[in-house]
Subunit: 419 residues, 2 copies
């Protein structure tokens, strides 16, 4: 029997699980990603805030899949998918497939205000994280160098938009960076006077968590010096300012953690229903309507599962969807035989600075130091690569005791090319 | 007594030693660097070849000098120095001084052929190293993706120009990257077929070392698969090719480790004698002719010391010169009282791949594995920051046993923006 040819678009959590577990006897697999690495996105905010170096949270796809001789990795960008001809246009390649798995993930979304992108800093790739790191560290350099008190205040105002886990973790890490790590390193400014604003449109932080955890998170962040602004939807963003809840904040560093939307490739899928964020509305088995040979998984999917649960855009869901598709394909299950995917909620967690976290697991809530230890443990276990695990663990231990950040290094662009 | 005001240009080995040891009672010190970090240049080639991450060999200047409250650090670029008015023009600042220490180091030099710069990759900053890493890793990606055998060969040809320590270390690390680390990770190409060419104009590698070490280095490199081309001065470099010793090599990755010249700021020093590479011809006490209040130290200096020894552009010399200037300034020594600087040769060393090195110390030569252990030890000891030492040591141990490289991550620019 000739092997069937499966193309996987995207080497994130969903795509990688498929590449690793699809049967080598049955399938020739081609994995396409625009980067050469799998990225552990949950720790991206630590690269952005100079705690970890970029290679510590990334692993080359080729090296992860080195022993999977049925998997070919291509580093290229997806342009479009032709579902009728079963072909894919990449920037430099043209592929055809018997089966297709679309796992391209999400990008930063602006609720239709795409012109805000140029004034804000998203956090989806290593490049995004390095840009935030550079801009934050340069803001302090610019403040130190400025003789103008108003300009100093503007440079020392950092804004995070979005009160979900990413926004909370960013705000906490920025508050500690300015309030503790940089303290004493400047001669003209006092980094502890930095204002970190966390802006949320809704009535509480971490809206998907239990209410008592939201309240605890807010209190903890405020004790770190973060100004939490609830009920403050953003109405305008421009060069150096943001208007939220009617109030204008002057800042050069506006980090956008408020929303995501699907990869624009979904717009090239003829006759496939998408939600407002461009996500693919898959059938219960994760295949595309009218195309049992095409699946989607991860953040690119819009689905309410068979139990009526809206599947969230988190890594456990992406991994589960990948596993579900592997089961269907390895089992050779035809349309009628395929089970529906059901999201299994493993719980969720978010850190708040160096010593506290909130976690919600199987209807129980944990907070404070125990939740933080749990967070550390879970994130180390899921980080790919033993070297990365050891290295990140040692950096965390080091930072915990010394209050230093290991990656406070500006590179990527010389200072004079910056605004 | 009012404190005198000392400006130090450059936070490399020479400048940093001065900033740390100039008397806090006597001097207010301003340290200027275009980057926010001190860079441990001897390990830069390991960042370029994906062995170490950038923050592991860099340390923020502000954090190194945090406890030196008499030192102000400015991140800015030097434009010019006015020796008569005793002022310095930076891009965004204007400084004046009582004493000045010029320690701006060197940049990649092309012996008057500055147009070669656009076709080659230098190795002086973290950005340079990241660019080499990206280009080398992308060359393999492009080879894997190309259906054209000639193009594959071109992408899999890596050229290093310059047979000094940097060139030798780069060539060895590239040979091991392609011959061992990447082996098995591709499906269409065989990375072990990569050609690494090391080009040297003179008759032997490592011309400043003993001859038997040169011969040993060449044999070791050849056993790693490097093609060593001696007596091959470069006559032409263009887009995708280099002509050396009359022979043309087609390559997209041409790493230039053949020469350095002084920072262009030296050209703004009125009436100060410079050598052909733009280096400052200092007086024996390291001050500038006619300006006892101005010193130069490190790679920016051109000097034959009082023992008739030409001072080489290496980090021990930079550190010694910094210490010499500190002694003069802290001691308040006037022109007639100042001792002449004498270079103390601590020896020199270079690694050749993962297990061998050559070292020349106090008229004795060491080679092979013992020299490699010595190299490891010396470089760990001189690396600034305990965290960096631990982290680099663990990465080396890890790489030694697994043959993996921890930083095989492409970022900085998406693949489609590359040639």
């Amino acid at each position: 029997m000739e092997k069937k040819n499966i193309v996987i678009l995207g080497g994130g959590f969903a795509g990688l699980i498929c590449a690793k577990h699809l049967s080598a006897e049955q399938f020739e697999v081609t994995l396409v990603d625009r980067w050469n690495h799998h990225l552990f996105q949950p720790l991206l905010y630590q690269v952005a805030t100079a705690g970890l170096s970029a290679p510590e949270i990334a692993q080359p796809l080729r090296s992860i899949l080195s022993d999977h001789k049925n998997v070919t990795t291509i580093m290229d960008q997806v342009v479009s998918v032709d579902l009728e001809k079963r072909t894919i246009e990449l920037k430099a390649h043209h592929l055809s497939y018997d089966y297709l798995i679309i796992a391209l993930g999400a990008k930063t979304g602006f609720f239709g205000n795409n012109h805000w992108e140029q004034f804000t800093l998203g956090l989806k790739s290593l490049d995004d994280a390095m840009r935030i790191r550079r801009e934050v560290l340069l803001a302090f350099e610019r403040a130190e160098a400025s003789p103008d008190a108003k300009e100093v205040k503007r440079q020392m105002t950092l804004v995070v938009v979005g009160g979900g886990p990413t926004g909370v973790e960013m705000a906490g890490a920025l508050a500690e960076l300015s309030g503790v790590v940089l303290k004493g390193d400047f001669r003209h400014i006092d980094p502890t006077l930095t204002e970190v604003h966390l802006i949320e449109a809704g009535p509480r932080l971490l809206p998907t968590f239990e209410e008592n955890l939201s309240a605890y998170t807010q209190t903890r962040l405020e004790s770190l010096g973060v100004t939490v602004r609830l009920q403050s939807p953003v109405s305008e963003v421009g060069e150096g300012y943001v208007i939220a809840g009617g109030q204008r904040l002057e800042s050069q560093v506006i980090i956008w953690a408020a929303g995501v939307e699907a990869s624009p490739v979904t717009r090239t899928l003829a006759d496939i229903p998408l939600d407002r964020g461009g996500r693919i509305q898959v059938l219960p088995d994760l295949s595309l309507p009218g195309h049992p040979e095409v699946f989607a998984a991860g953040d690119i999917v819009s689905l309410t599962d068979k139990n009526g649960v809206r599947v969230p855009g988190v890594s456990p869901a992406a991994i589960q969807m990948g596993q579900h598709i592997v089961k269907i394909l390895n089992g050779g299950l035809k349309e009628g035989e395929r089970p529906a995917y059901a999201y299994f909620d493993k719980g969720s967690m978010a850190t708040i600075g160096r010593k506290a976290a909130v976690a919600s697991i199987a209807n129980r809530t944990v907070k404070g130091f125990p939740a933080w230890l749990l967070w550390l443990f879970v994130h180390l276990v899921f980080l790919i690569g033993m070297r990365n695990r050891i290295s990140v663990f040692l950096h965390w231990v080091w930072s915990y005791f010394t209050w230093q950040r290991g990656a406070r290094i500006i590179f990527g662009q010389p200072s004079d090319e910056k605004r």
